[in-house]
């Protein structure tokens, strides 16, 4: 399964056999062509499970790759060609227009019988996931760039289930040509025609609770931590956990991030009050009840949100939460007493009744050894009975250039900004454009409008081919507009360096953990955080004096005479941005 260079080899899969129910072959293929990067990762994991002693070592926890069928890229080619959809490859249609045109098209005949048969065999929610060719060919992560659609697939009528599966497939195909995907490919130097989409049709790993179907826990584990805190070292890795579907983590919502070497250490919240405010309060589930609205061109058509009291009723909080004791102003592990529940995963990480952390640590170690690269793994878990479903593995990009920024350097009087919380590595010497949120105009309830303005300015700078420094407030790329500006990757695709800074009322939790963030760092976009009470502050007044190119309601775009001098020391996590490279760089 592994080539000499450590990347994944293209495996030969067993063709899908109708009504076979073959437990020995839980990964099969419909159609031919490539299976794409994500599917290759899953085949690698499946082989790993059969060849390692992981399953024997943890007999109480079932570790699996959930049953799946891959639709080869040839089907995508045939679908585009037969329905004349190739015209969307380079078009500037809106996402909705593209999704709608794809819904009107017919899937190739040669897969229809197999798909019908598939929905007749599986009566369990399924996820239709992208598995793109470029993901496979490069180390560039396309996570969150293409859509995933989950469908309940439990209706009595197989015709209905077939229609829903067909709609979901066409939607994920359409997402290949959505704006964010196009911007991403532009930024990574790929031609749109290079991209081909394989699909994974996979059982959703979880359990039904009334009208909701979800895993008790979803997680992302990385063997390298770009942003270690306290005692943690980069090599210890980092894990993010959330209740419910993994969408919370992928979208950069509130999740619990910890170092697997120190699972008992909570994220660096200033106080219990802050932890209460910033821990996960809502979760995603597949809606098994009456559909809310018919909308085949929405990724979330069959998803619903639940809150913690709902999860408590469902009985899914047992291993995940603590209870706030207001009299002692402290957290008590578990749900022994009444009081506000807090998702800090303490029963799991501190009482260790189920050895999830150990299992994950071992898994990432084995994967890292096999792939000869730091890795990222996605998983989902149910607790009764304990069952861990592996959903994805991929190699991570970790920069190795040597740049040093000392503590003294940070105090340079010519600095626009300096930080001890920086990610990325290297020198950036070609940035003359800066786009920033005007501090006086920033309002948390207007972050959606800011995202739109950013999209427009980004578009112009991308057209001009000018990389820029972006300065924003709050957590960038979160789908929750109350945490920061809810941009997607395409809306900031031209930025080379991003500064996240904070204002009163904003969460101090960083972007890290989200796929959005991971995409940025892996593409070499540097990320600098300026905490509210940090030692170093941004020189706002200098910014306001520079030549203005454009001013919108919330944003200002300025252009400098000479480029900024930007140095990021990945090892030390320090960064400095000098106002002029010529003078000081």
């Amino acid at each position: 399964m592994k080539t000499q260079s450590g990347s994944l080899a293209s495996p030969k899969l067993i063709p899908y056999v109708r009504n076979a129910n073959d437990p020995d072959h839980n990964i099969q293929i419909i159609g031919s062509g490539s299976i794409g990067g994500k599917a290759q990762g899953l085949v690698f994991l499946q082989d790993l499970l059969s060849s390692s002693d992981l399953i024997q070592k943890y007999p109480q926890t079932k570790v699996i790759v959930p049953d799946m069928v891959v639709i080869g890229t040839e089907v995508f080619d045939s679908f585009l060609e037969k329905n004349n959809l190739v015209r969307f490859t380079d078009s500037d249609h809106t996402d909705d227009q593209i999704a709608h045109a794809f819904q009107q098209a017919d899937l190739p005949f040669f897969v229809l019988g197999d798909l019908r048969s598939l929905v007749e065999e599986i009566q369990n929610p399924i996820a239709v996931r992208s598995s793109s060719l470029l993901e496979d060919a490069t180390y560039e992560p396309f996570a969150g760039i293409y859509s995933t659609k989950m469908i309940p697939n439990e209706q009595f009528d197989p015709d209905f289930r077939f229609r829903k599966l067909s709609e979901a497939i066409k939607f994920v195909y359409a997402s290949t040509f959505f704006k964010a995907a196009k911007s991403y490919r532009n930024a990574t130097g790929h031609d749109h025609r290079e991209e081909k989409m394989a699909l994974i049709i996979q059982r959703v790993h979880g359990a039904r609770h009334h009208v909701r179907f979800y895993p008790d826990l979803s997680g992302v584990a990385r063997s390298y931590n770009f942003y270690p805190v306290g005692k943690a070292k980069p090599e210890d890795g980092v894990v993010s956990l959330a209740l419910g579907l993994g969408k919370t983590i992928v979208d950069g919502g509130r999740s619990w991030t910890y170092s697997p070497a120190h699972p008992r250490i909570a994220p660096p919240y200033g106080s219990i009050n802050e932890l209460l405010k910033n821990s996960q309060r809502e979760f995603w589930a597949v809606n098994m009840g009456a559909p809310l609205i018919y909308d085949p061109i929405r990724e979330t058509e069959y998803l619903i949100k639940g809150d913690l009291p709902t999860a408590e009723k469902d009985g899914t909080l047992k291993e995940l939460c603590s209870t706030y004791d207001s009299q002692g102003d402290r957290l008590q592990i578990g749900m022994g007493n009444p009081g506000p529940r807090v998702l800090n995963f303490a029963p799991l990480l501190q009482l260790k009744r189920i050895p999830l952390n150990k299992l994950i640590q071992e898994l990432i170690r084995i994967c890292e050894e096999q792939l000869e690269n730091p890795v990222e793994i996605e998983f989902a878990m149910t607790f009764s009975p304990p069952s861990l479903g592996l959903l994805q593995v991929r190699s991570m990009v970790v920069s190795s250039d040597e740049v040093e920024v000392s503590e003294q350097d940070l105090g340079d009087p010519n600095a626009l900004a300096a930080s001890e919380k920086a990610l990325g590595n290297g020198l950036v010497e070609n940035i003359k454009d800066i786009v920033y949120v005007i501090p006086e105009n920033f309002e948390l309830e207007k972050t959606r409008e800011m995202a739109e303005e950013l999209d427009q300015i980004n578009g112009e700078l991308v057209r001009k081919g000018s990389p820029y420094l972006l300065i924003i407030f709050g957590r960038l790329g979160s789908s929750d507009p109350w945490l920061g500006i809810p941009v997607n990757w395409g809306q900031i695709s031209g930025s080379r360096v991003i500064i996240e800074t904070y204002q009163e009322g904003l969460s101090a939790d960083m972007s890290q953990g989200s796929h959005f963030f991971h995409n940025l760092t892996s593409l070499g976009v540097s990320y600098i955080s300026l905490p509210r009470a940090g030692k170093y502050q941004l020189d706002w007044s200098w910014l306001s004096e520079q030549k203005e190119i454009q001013k919108t309601k919330y944003l200002r775009h300025i252009e400098l005479k000479s480029p900024l001098g930007i140095k990021i020391d990945g090892k030390a996590g320090r960064a400095i941005i000098l106002k002029s490279r010529g003078k000081n760089g």
């Binding site: 063709p15 190739p108 005949f109 040669f110 229809l112 019988g113 048969s117 067909s166």
Partner: protein, 428 residues
């Protein structure tokens, strides 16, 4: 009128007798199934465009409806005989049974040559046929469809007459209607795709990698075109196809060693399926005699033109490389040739199984029309794939288990299903 040299009904009876023998059917069931349940023969007077009245002869034969309403086409043919219609109605019974759709077998016809009739005269003929039969056919009893020299326009006239007589709308009375007027999406592709679905399953079963195979096709009409399309989509390489050249009144085979591109070939083909010889040669096709398609070193042969094409004489030209013959046409193999093929161990997918995609989709049209609710194309074609796959697997499993020739196995399954339905109803 009667053709004394060749009696297709006797041939159909012979085939039935063979299956009945293998199934050890009781005498009463044999007597019931050897002949049609009902036959209608009648006159249709038509006032022609010149003011004269001409009387045409019409037929409808309902061979058996134990499994459901009768289903079968209406043929316009100058050499039509009651025996041809009887034979065809019996074959319809077996065809519906082999794909396990809840229909019986029927067939109809009018002795006429539509080439010599104006559109108005054809309309009167259609309406006249319905007037004679309006009480004996219908969505719950016998559902006609287009066949030789009849088309969707004829079906619409017939439907209109039927609805006028009965004073209500019955779109499920007839199939083969145009899309938008009660027709089903996917009907055009259905027969050709159906042939290739059975081929796909056969290759899986025989352990042949379809993507490494080559194929030769007889005929370039609707069935053949869609069979080639799907074959190519699945990765196969078509190398030869034959077609009829009207002007020369003879057929040619078009051969390209490394495989041809269907789109390229369609671009130089007219709507009768006639390929332009000169342009084909420009594209690098080699021009061979009409039966050249049969002689190629290929893995798959698909006769999809007329009956009696593989004869006792031509069967010996079939290459040793050929592993599968899928009969897209009705009765392309003579009994004499069939014996040779059986002996050589070539895997045959018999006509009434291979080309049952058409009637299966007609059944889907009937279901949609009865509900007056129409499906998406991919829903129709998805169901077609499942029906055809299941039908093929039923036959091949039965053949393997009982060490039977595929044609015999298909007959046995069909006859057995119909016989059981007759018994369950208490008829025999």
């Amino acid at each position: 009128m009667e053709d004394t040299s060749y009696n297709p009904f006797m041939m159909a009876q012979k085939q039935f007798d063979n299956a009945a023998e293998l199934l050890e059917l009781d005498p009463a069931t044999r007597d019931l199934l050897r002949v049609p349940l009902r036959e209608y023969q009648f006159s249709i007077p038509v006032r022609m465009d010149d003011g004269q009245v001409k009387v045409f002869r019409g037929f409808r034969v309902q061979h058996n409806d134990a499994r459901g309403p009768g289903k079968g086409g209406i043929r316009f043919h100058p050499q039509e005989t009651i025996n041809t219609v009887r034979a065809l109605s019996m074959w319809m019974t077996w065809k519906c049974a082999v794909v396990d759709i809840p229909l019986g077998g029927a067939k109809g016809g009018i002795i006429c040559d539509p080439h010599n009739l104006s559109l108005l005269e054809q309309e009167k003929l259609c309406r006249g046929w319905i007037r004679q039969l309006a009480k004996n056919v219908g969505p719950l009893s016998d559902v006609p469809a287009p066949d030789v020299m009849t088309n969707s326009q004829h079906m619409l006239w017939m439907l209109d007459e039927y609805e006028t007589i009965h004073g209500a709308k019955y779109p499920g009375f007839i199939t083969g209607k145009p899309v938008g007027m009660g027709g089903s999406l996917g009907r055009t592709e259905a027969t050709g795709y159906g042939v290739m679905i059975t081929v796909r399953e056969a290759m899986k079963e025989l352990g042949i990698d379809l993507q490494k195979t080559t194929a030769s096709f007889q005929g370039f009409g609707n069935v053949s075109q869609y069979a080639i399309e799907l074959y190519q989509q699945m990765g196969g390489t078509p190398v030869c196809v034959s077609c009829w050249i009207q002007k020369e009144q003879k057929a040619y085979s078009f051969f390209k060693k490394d495989g041809f591109n269907l789109k390229q070939l369609l671009a130089i083909t007219d709507h009768f399926g006639e390929i332009d010889k000169t342009k084909a040669q420009d594209l690098g096709f080699e021009l061979l005699p009409g039966d050249g398609w049969l002689e190629q070193d290929v893995d798959l042969l698909v006769p999809a033109a007329l009956e009696n094409q593989i004869t006792g004489e031509s069967v010996n030209k079939i290459s040793q490389q050929v592993k599968i013959i899928a009969e897209g046409a009705n009765g392309p193999t003579t009994p004499e040739a069939d014996l040779v093929i059986k002996k050589r161990g070539i895997h045959v997918i018999p006509d009434f199984l291979a080309n049952a995609g058409g009637v299966t989709c007609s059944y889907f049209e009937q279901v949609q029309s009865n509900q007056n609710y129409y499906w998406a194309k991919e829903e129709t074609l998805g169901k077609l794939d499942q029906k055809m796959t299941n039908a093929y697997l039923d036959v091949s499993k039965f053949a393997t288990k009982n060490k039977l020739y595929m044609r015999d196995a298909a007959y046995m399954i069909s006859v057995d299903r119909v016989a059981k339905a007759c018994k369950a109803r208490g008829w025999v």
